[in-house]
């Protein structure tokens, strides 16, 4: 009876205590490497709702924009029709050039292209707050996605690094983006081959930083130099474009240089990404053959 009176009187405080204790215990689990990950279970559940909201929002915005697009489409149709005829002639030349390119590549021993199977995914959300940075995609463990898989995207015809898979649900996953403070990528400058470690600046707008670059490299490095993944850690395959150098800092007290990097990928307008299955490399194309079968679920660039 006394216990009942006590619980009734202190109901609010007891509920607060239960919520706080639950949160603290969950955090203790989440911040350690426990096999059981209740977070992944929750991600699977709530990403369904999140995906639904994204689809509903997308439907309305698409409906509104499609009316305007209809007029544009008619106009563009006529222009494109004339261009198609023009391109038909060019296509024959391209096939010839592609074959020649393949032959030259094999002659030069060029193997810089990434040749892994990939899973195309759509971005359905970003972190709801401003303290953490994450990107949610609509593919999960059921689609073959596993933790730590590297993620790339193609923007303006260039393939660039987006980040790595951090958390996997059944039909959705969370990416730890390149600009996150916790993301480290072993990198090198493409032109001068100097190595360093790229680390995120913490937010989409802040530049990423390349540290531990030899100080002697200061004479050779220029702004605009391309930074690529070096493949030195097993996580990211080598040769993926990361960004371009925008600033060089050489402090007298430091033994290495610090480079400001502008990512190749504009995260603000990122819609689709490709998750690389690094355990499934694609055999190099046969030099003379036509076999450049780069598809969306198997090709180097993923379409």
């Amino acid at each position: 009876m006394q216990f009942r009176n006590f619980t009734t009187r202190h109901r609010t405080v007891l509920t607060l205590a239960i919520c706080v204790v639950f949160s603290l215990v969950s955090m203790s689990f989440s911040t350690k490497s426990f096999v059981l990950r209740p977070k992944d279970v929750g991600l699977s559940l709530f990403s369904l709702v999140q995906n639904g909201m994204f689809q509903v929002g997308g439907f309305f915005s698409r409906t509104v924009t499609s009316i305007k697009e209809l007029g544009d489409l008619r106009r563009n149709y006529a222009i494109l029709l004339s261009r198609v005829r023009q391109y038909e002639g060019i296509e024959n030349d391209i096939v010839e050039l592609r074959n020649e390119n393949n032959r030259l590549r094999s002659l030069l021993g060029f193997s810089g292209q990434i040749s892994y199977s990939n899973i195309a995914a759509q971005i359905i959300g970003k972190d709801p707050g401003n303290l953490f940075s994450s990107i949610t995609i609509d593919k999960g463990s059921m689609d073959g996605i596993r933790k730590n898989m590297p993620v790339v995207a193609v923007q303006d015809g260039v393939q660039g690094l987006v980040g790595k898979i951090e958390s996997v649900g059944l039909k959705s996953s969370i990416i730890l983006p390149l600009y996150d403070h916790l993301n480290y990528v072993a990198a090198r400058l493409q032109r001068t081959r100097f190595e360093g470690l790229v680390n995120g600046g913490g937010s989409e707008n802040s530049p990423i930083v390349m540290r531990w670059v030899e100080k002697t490299a200061i004479k050779d490095i220029q702004t605009g130099d391309l930074v690529i993944s070096s493949g030195m850690n097993s996580l990211y395959p080598k040769g993926i474009h990361i960004g371009t150098v925008t600033g060089i800092t050489a402090r007298p007290s430091d033994t290495s240089l610090e480079l400001d990097i502008r990512p190749i990928i504009d995260f603000g307008r990122l819609e689709y990404v490709f998750v690389l299955q690094t355990d499934k490399p694609i055999p190099a194309p046969v030099p003379q053959g036509v076999g450049a079968n780069a598809g969306s679920n198997g090709g180097p660039n993923g379409g």
Partner: protein
């Protein structure tokens, strides 16, 4: 009270999920306004600690699921925020403009302080760059700016005013 907690939890959870995509459209300098926090504080002031802390906890858990924060992080922050601002029920009169701005300014700062403390205790180093960035400063100002509008809209929604039908839930 149970059904009202359920409704509040549903509204706050939906807002958290909307903050992952649709509400990003109104972000300034990459800073998304924490509309869920503003609504939580409003509900806490109207309905008291009990419903606010429970619905804050539920919304926080949902936020933890869809972000890279450890499970329990936002749940704890929103539970404590709901509880503390629930204590203001009947003690603070919310005028149309000034008080919403002040209350939400304090709530966002409290969120920052609690997040920082949890970051220190649990070694969550990844949140500190965000906490000491201009993005968070923009969020504080943005939340405060939006508060009078959101409080005004919520004040007109009758079911939210009748959550406890004038009874104290303490």
């Amino acid at each position: 009270m149970g059904i009202n907690i359920l409704i509040s939890s549903g509204i706050l959870s939906a807002l958290v999920l909307l903050q992952t995509n649709l509400l990003r459209v109104i972000s300034i300098g990459g800073a998304v306004p924490d509309v869920a926090l503003i609504v939580l504080v409003f509900l806490a002031n109207r309905n008291g600690s009990m419903p606010a802390q429970v619905s804050g906890f539920v919304a926080g858990i949902v936020q933890d699921f869809v972000s890279l924060a450890p499970l329990g992080f936002h749940a704890l922050v929103r539970t404590v925020t709901g509880y503390l601002f629930g204590l203001s029920r009947g003690n603070i009169f919310i005028d149309p403009i000034l008080m919403p701005v002040i209350v939400i300014l304090i709530a966002t700062l409290l969120k920052g302080v609690l997040s920082g403390l949890l970051g220190l205790i649990f070694g969550i180093s990844s949140l500190f760059p965000g906490l000491f960035s201009t993005k968070f400063l923009v969020e504080i100002l943005y939340n405060s700016f939006l508060a009078p509008f959101i409080f005004g809209i919520l004040g007109m929604i009758r079911p939210l005013q009748l959550v406890t039908r004038g009874r104290s839930v303490e």
